[in-house]
């Protein structure tokens, strides 16, 4: 299964560049988080990718093929874009309208409705659905053709926390079966637990593409707050820890260059040192994200 390839994509609306020379890849077997603040060009890029918007120049393809050239688009790509429905049509009928071109039977429709937890309300008009139910219906529609690629634009909008957990597991399973997921969000921590790779854009330009694991999350710093700094320095030096003292609004503390809270705690305990606070200091992903955006200015 080939990757999604976005190659030197440019989209200009009346001279304003919504997407500016954007290139990145989405690999199969991985969940790729597509990040950027609102208005960064994520939605435009995704809409170009599935042929709803024509790029000014450049290409966005599944392997070599543009969406419109795919022999069986719904069996290849599933999309959750803006999740809009005719309010008078039932959820089941919404899927049945999309089923013939996806090669899906009515049985498959009913199966999917059950899988996304809409079996009970399948015959009610979509106008009576909650936001979360509509998002799940949109996901069922995307899955009709059992696609190889899933493209989701801000799917967490309007979903309850339980729905987000469910979606996370669903996407992980999907990627682990060797297929590709591209999921956009303006909130980094929404994607943190799901994404293997991230692509960060701002003002239509690429800021970074990297595996999530390379995003420096500042792991390896343990914050130890103790009344007796000197005793603690000695005790920790004995186990060979690198550290320095630092000060925040609550006073002085130790920054130990280790992510092993247990080891640090045990060393302090065996020296009989009173500990007020002992935590792993993780740089916030959001902070990482914003420093990347800062750098782009």
């Amino acid at each position: 299964m080939p990757p999604i390839i976005v190659d030197r994509l440019i989209k200009s609306y009346n001279g304003n560049l919504a997407v500016h020379n954007l290139s990145f890849m989405v690999e199969p077997g991985r969940v790729t988080g597509f990040l950027g603040p609102n208005g960064a060009g994520k939605t435009t890029t995704m809409r170009i990718l599935v042929g709803l918007v024509t790029p000014t120049t450049g290409t966005a393809t599944f392997g070599d093929l543009a969406y419109a050239d795919l022999p069986h688009p719904q069996q290849t790509v599933g999309c959750v874009l803006d999740a809009r429905f005719h309010p008078g049509r039932s959820g089941r009928n919404h899927l049945r309208v999309l089923a013939p071109t996806a090669g899906a039977s009515d049985r498959r429709v009913d199966e999917l409705l059950g899988e996304v937890g809409l079996g009970e309300v399948a015959r009610q008009p979509v106008g009576e659905y909650s936001m979360g139910m509509q998002q799940r219906l949109a996901l069922a529609a995307a899955m009709l053709g059992d696609p190889d690629y899933l493209i989701l634009d801000e799917p967490a909008n309007g979903i309850d926390p339980e729905g987000i957990r469910w979606l996370r597991i669903f996407l992980r399973d999907f990627a682990e079966s060797g297929r590709a997921v591209l999921i956009s969000s303006h909130l980094l921590n929404e994607i943190e637990a799901t994404a293997d790779d991230i692509v960060v854009i701002n003002r239509g330009r690429l800021l970074a593409q990297m595996p999530m694991s390379e995003l420096n999350l500042g792991e390896g710093i343990t914050r130890a707050r103790v009344p007796d700094l000197r005793a603690a320095l000695q005790a920790l030096a004995a186990i060979g820890a690198q550290m320095e003292t630092a000060v925040d609004e609550r006073g002085a503390y130790l920054r130990v260059h280790s992510h092993d809270v247990g080891q640090v705690g045990a060393a302090l305990f065996s020296s009989g040192i009173v500990v007020d606070e002992l935590v792993t200091e993780r740089r916030d992903l959001e902070q990482e994200f914003f420093s990347m955006l800062e750098g782009s200015r």
């Binding site: 999309c79 809009r84 008078g88 049509r89 009928n93 013939p100």
Partner: protein
Amino acid sequence: MSGVLRAELRRIATTKLWWIVLICIFVLSAGYAALPAAVALLQSRSGVASSPFADPGIIRSIYNGGNVLSRILAMVVGIATVGSEYRYGTLASTYLATPHRVRMLLGKAAALLIFGVIFGIASVAAGMLVSIPFVLANGGTFLLNQPETWRSIILGVCSIASWTLIGMGIGILIKNMLVALVVGILLGFLVEPVVSVVFFLKRWDELLNLMPSGATNAMLEITSPVLFAGHNPAPWWLAALVLAAWCLLPALAGVLSAARRDVA
């Protein structure tokens, strides 16, 4: 193509509009068919016409009495089928299912024509039902042994079906569904009839033959004065071509414009 057609048939079949329109067409067509029948009855009572219920033009007018209204309702379904896609933002998912836009729009047109034929049959069936008491009570004839009668009936069904395409064209060209409906209904119920009546009264027969209603009347070969049928109608096949042009031009313009447009 068959998948696209089935999808578009389901799209129309899964909302309430089509059967509401179907019932309206049947009921109102019965009323509209009674109009030329009643006029013919008055003519026969007053001795203006000797046996109107044996006159092919009159009989065809009754069978097709609902046409003038049914075609507008068929157009409404055409407008709403496209317009609701813009109104409810479902066009994106429709294009995702069939990214070849012209193919999708052709599927939509074909599905609309199929529903249009159903509307047409309902309209003509109502007209034929209404004719029964009039014809029997006045010693007339149904003329069902004449090929011209059947041609008129079949073309009547086709003309109603083809008005769905006018609606589809208007629906694409005017993206706001409510504005498109108002424009379509005003054009169909007010502007076009008024202009046609002016042409009728001025006896500008060539111009009247070029109007959608004039072309329809000429094509169906109906002569009832209540339908403002022209004094010098074009031959039925030429009228059919004129009507086809009226239906296909907006649809074609719509398809060409929709095929390029970004879906925001």
